[in-house]
């Protein structure tokens, strides 16, 4: 059941993404992308990461995409006529490169040679829960929170700095 769901979601995600990147209209592209992210969030949930799934929906599909929308509207990019369609000549190198990367990655990732035993005695395969996540996050990666919070702060600082009006 879950397995089937996963494959369906995976296909939905990929198709939505493909649609997103081929769509001329930025607003439509964003909508497709949000779809894709929703599907991905469900995949995360299936993979025992409910918090990440939630964040994906809230931050990615919500905040970030809305930010994109804002900017698109602010810059008046909502007209598909103005957005030029990429030429095939331009697409070709992109497709070739991405194709090779994909092929190479598939080659490397599909065949797992030998599984390595996990470190430390914890070889028990159990599903993670939110508590695990929280403990890991705050016990082990406290500094990371500091760093990322600083980074967010400086994102604000930077945006404010750039947004400031120039002196006449």
């Amino acid at each position: 059941m879950e397995q089937t769901l996963f494959y369906i979601l995976a296909i939905v995600t990929v198709i939505a993404t493909i649609l997103a990147i081929t769509e001329k209209h930025p607003v439509h592209a964003i909508i497709y992308l949000v779809t894709s992210f929703f599907a991905l969030a469900v995949v995360f949930y299936l993979l025992a990461a409910p918090l990440i799934a939630v964040f994906e929906v809230i931050i990615y599909a919500g905040a970030v995409m809305v930010l994109f929308m804002f900017v698109i509207m602010m810059l008046d990019q909502g007209n598909p006529e103005e957005a030029r369609c990429p030429l095939l000549v331009h697409c070709l190198p992109a497709l070739v490169l991405a194709g090779i990367i994909l092929a190479a990655l598939l080659l490397l990732l599909s065949g797992r040679s030998t599984p390595v035993a996990p470190i430390g005695g914890g070889s028990e395969k159990r599903l993670l829960d939110v508590a695990d996540f929280a403990i890991t996050l705050f016990k082990k990666y406290g500094v990371a929170i500091e760093i990322i919070s600083m980074q967010l702060l400086f994102a604000i600082v930077g945006v404010l700095y750039l947004g400031r009006r120039r002196k006449p």
């Binding site: 190479a104 065949g111 030998t114 470190i119 990666y141 500094v143």
Partner: protein, 470 residues
């Protein structure tokens, strides 16, 4: 629970973070410009001094931070570099009219990222530190709002950085999948040991390397370098090459120190090194814009750094670490001097530097010394660094790389000399006197002295690195 020892280890980070915040607050409550710089310098120096003292423990397991000798050395180095850059910036920014507390705060933030990177014991901190540092530089590159090109450079840097961050994250993710842990030593031993050749790990390494190639500005991910070098304020560029690149080298060193030999990674690194040395040095030959020229030179210099990384069996990491520090000091002197020269009305073109050697002796002297050092002429740290690198390469048996490297180094002499020749051998248009602040003079002199001292007496630093990297 955080123990006292943990706090002591984390203190440099804290100092930098708090310093940045205070700087921002000072700016917000509208104090004088200088106050921000002062606080920032004090914070940087304080953090640097603190990292120099011996901590009670070498590791803070609860924080994922280490305080090994290497960490402390580089933390202190980054902090002092930041302090120097701040001091240089003070007068340059006044000349360029870059106002606001954001600048010193961002410098501190970038330093914060570097120190975090240097002390990280797991890949998450490493990644975040790296990204935080780079993030700081996105802002710094675009900081000069009087110039259109400045935000252009910022955007270019940002887009490339984000792309490379995606690669990095994907790569780290793959590595994580292999072992289920983010600890550096565990991952390294699993993914690079000669016995294991896990395809997933290889894919991860591929992505990781190209991400690092961007941070080190290696060909083919180098193209942002000339643009950023050209548009960003010189002190920022100094920090970029002396801090950011040194941090990236350090990252590689920290990763590779856990393995005895490179195995599969050798060929890609070899290619990166070769391409960077060739392309960097050649492209710089005919450059007429000084900063672009030095940008290409920095691409080539990082190529040498990678040669050292490839030569891991012949004390290459030691050479790489030494070279990173040496290169940092050289670029500090070079771009510090360029900043002073530009503040004195020097343009971007090579021709604008003509005859400055005699009208502006201090800055030009420092620039000339750092150029000779970059060119690898003894008795400078540049020479000693190159010497160590090539010694490592030959010890490892990378003779082809060594020979090609040395030949490109010979080619590179040309463009360094072009600038020196412009400074000293050509006549300038107008005779004008140099206006240079006292702290700039002291800093330039200090960095020149360091360049030469480290060139002549590298033994202590080397021995220290040797012990750390055994």
């Amino acid at each position: 629970m955080m123990s006292m020892a943990d706090i002591q280890i984390a203190l440099p980070l804290l100092i930098l973070a708090i310093g940045a915040l205070i700087t921002l607050i000072c700016g917000a409550i509208g104090r004088k410009q200088t106050t921000g710089y002062l606080i920032a310098v004090i914070a940087a120096v304080g953090a640097g001094l603190w990292s120099m003292q011996t901590p009670p423990a070498l590791l803070a397991p609860g924080l994922g931070l280490s305080a090994s000798g290497l960490t402390r050395l580089f933390s202190a180095y980054f902090c002092f570099m930041a302090a120097a850059v701040l001091l240089f910036s003070h007068s340059y920014n006044r000349y360029r009219d870059i106002a606001g507390e954001e600048y010193p705060a961002t410098i501190l933030f970038a330093t914060f990222g570097m120190v975090a990177l240097a002390s990280a014991t797991n890949l998450l901190l490493l990644f975040l530190g790296l990204e935080a540092m780079t993030f700081g530089f996105y802002i710094l590159a675009a900081i000069d709002r009087e110039q259109d090109v400045s935000s252009e450079a910022g955007l270019k840097y940002l887009l490339m950085g984000a792309l490379s961050a995606a690669f990095l994250a994907f790569g780290i993710g793959l590595l994580y999948c292999v072992r289920g842990s983010l600890g550096i030593s565990e991952i390294m031993q699993t993914t690079l040991a000669a016995t294991v050749r896990d395809p997933i790990a290889l894919a991860g390494w591929g992505c990781l390397l190209i991400g690092m190639a961007f941070k080190l500005s290696l060909v083919p991910a180098h193209l942002w370098t000339p643009d950023v070098y050209e548009a960003a304020p010189p002190p920022v560029v100094a920090f970029l090459s002396g801090g950011s690149k040194a941090a990236a080298v350090l990252l590689m060193v920290v990763l590779l120190v856990h393995v005895a030999e490179l195995g599969t990674l050798r060929v890609p690194l070899f290619g990166l090194a070769l391409l960077s040395m060739l392309v960097g040095n050649m492209a710089a030959l005919r450059q007429n814009r000084v900063r672009r020229m030095l940008a290409y030179s920095s691409i080539a210099q990082m190529g040498y750094g990678v040669v050292a990384l490839v030569s891991i069996q012949g004390h290459g990491l030691q050479a790489a670490a030494f070279y990173a520090i040496g290169y940092g000091i050289m670029s500090l002197a070079a771009f510090g001097a360029i900043g002073v020269l530009e503040a004195n009305g020097c343009g971007a073109e090579l021709d604008d530097y003509r005859g400055r050697g005699f009208t502006q002796p201090v800055a030009s002297g420092a620039l000339a010394i750092s150029l000779f050092a970059l060119a690898g002429i003894p008795p400078t740290v540049g020479f000693t660094g190159k010497f160590l690198i090539f010694a490592a390469a030959i010890r490892t048996g990378e003779n082809a790389l060594a020979i090609l490297g040395i030949l490109t180094a010979a080619v590179s002499i040309y463009y360094y000399l072009r600038l020196v020749a412009a400074l000293y051998l050509q006549r300038g248009a107008a005779e004008q006197t140099e206006s240079i602040s006292i702290n700039d003079t002291v800093l330039l002199a200090l960095s020149c002295v360091l360049i030469i001292l480290l060139g002549i007496f590298p033994a202590q630093l080397l021995d220290f690195l040797k012990i750390q990297l055994l």
